[in-house]
Subunit: 211 residues, 2 copies
DNA sequence: AAAATAAGTCACCAAATAGTGACTTATTTA
DNA sequence: TAAATAAGTCACTATTTGGTGACTTATTTT
């Protein structure tokens, strides 16, 4: 007897839609779980598709992940044309507002959190490219506004901003899982987060005053 | 025919030594690779032992990992009796030196880096306990020295230190894999790290001056 | 020295993993 | 409308995973 084949039920076929379903499934898994559960079987199951499609469309899981990463854009809201044209005081108020907004944005955006974490966990060209895009975005502000304003101290200013922004990233990632306290500040409460925001504002103010 | 059994070669048996071999294997894997490759098979192979021993001694891989985490102690050098007895200016110089030392310590210590990362990646009681120990350690300095010195601003000071220390953690983790630049600062070079150190010193100085 | 304990070995299992060849059939092209 | 293309299905493989029962034998206890 030959091998039996079940009759397939009618389905509408659409390559683009299917690719999107797989890409979305990756996002969903990353948002909720993490990279540990991110395999072909899982992705296919979440997408409701056969894993064969991953190989058909993306060659491999890595190909799918790379395309997922490339599709990300967390900086559309701060792209060139969305920026103000005037930056009084070397962008003091603008930078302060931006850092505080960033602190909240990371908190509200689990997908961005996971990408930040992924970047710390695994070496991957697509992630480096993403980082490069982010850096290029920041360079617009740095070269256009703060470098001229701080002149000889431009690099010192950049290093300070590096510490501050890195701090906002870490604190948000830390709060996500450990819930508890960091330096005695409870990052899970709005009160604790308010304290951090005041600290960020203080540090930026002092930098613009004293550098 | 009955099942064949090879004759075993003579080995010296020692439970404690074997447990240590397994614990050390966990450390070795974590230092070099990451948590993704951390399974019973891998650990047993690295330890040069049978995985059965993991279950015999620790009940499960989780049991082994928990005991590994519990065995860690990254703060032995800053424990009570090792601290100075005098803290002029609310510990200004001491805190500054401590943060700079910490920045370097994380850089030099891959195991600590991976634990920091692990804490951001997975919820695990043993890791929370480790965090609690670290916090308790810091509380000695905070409650004993800086809280009294900053009085009404004690919590503001803690929040600032949270940002600064979190920044040192993140920058070190970031530099480890992405190599490239953060806010235009190349963290892979000694020059870039020097800039960060100056930024840390600046921020701490301004905090002690202006808070 | 004999008996009891338990350290270590090994073969095996069930489940999950990544990956593929052969098939059906919806859709597009000629 | 007929033929060609390729989207989607499915059964199957090989490998690796976590986990265990049965065994041998070094070491300890009596």
């Amino acid at each position: 007897m030959a091998t039996t084949k079940k009759t397939q039920q009618a389905v509408t076929r659409n390559k683009d839609r299917s690719k999107q379903k797989l890409l979305k499934a990756v996002g969903k898994i990353i948002k909720t779980g993490g990279f540990s559960t991110l395999g072909v079987n899982r992705v296919a199951a979440v997408a409701g598709m056969d894993k064969k499609m991953i190989y058909n469309y993306f060659g491999s899981l890595n190909g799918l992940l790379d395309e997922y990463i490339s599709s990300l854009d967390f900086w559309s809201n701060v792209k060139g044309d969305k920026l103000p044209t005037e930056f009084p005081n070397g962008g003091h108020d603008f930078v302060k507002q931006m850092v505080l907004a960033q602190f909240d944005y990371v908190h509200q955006n689990p997908e961005f959190q996971k990408i930040l974490l992924w970047r710390l966990s695994e070496e991957r060209d697509a992630l480096k490219t993403l980082t490069a895009r982010q850096e290029a975005n920041g360079e617009v502000l740095l070269q256009g506004i703060t470098d001229p304003h701080f002149a000889d101290n431009a690099e010192a200013y950049r290093a300070i901003m590096a510490v501050i922004i890195a701090g906002t990233y870490y604190l948000n990632l830390f709060a996500e899982l450990n819930g508890s306290t960091f330096c005695g500040i409870d990052l899970a409460t709005t009160g604790g987060r308010k304290k951090i925001e005041e600290a960020l504002a203080f540090l930026i103010d002092k930098t613009y005053e004293g550098l």
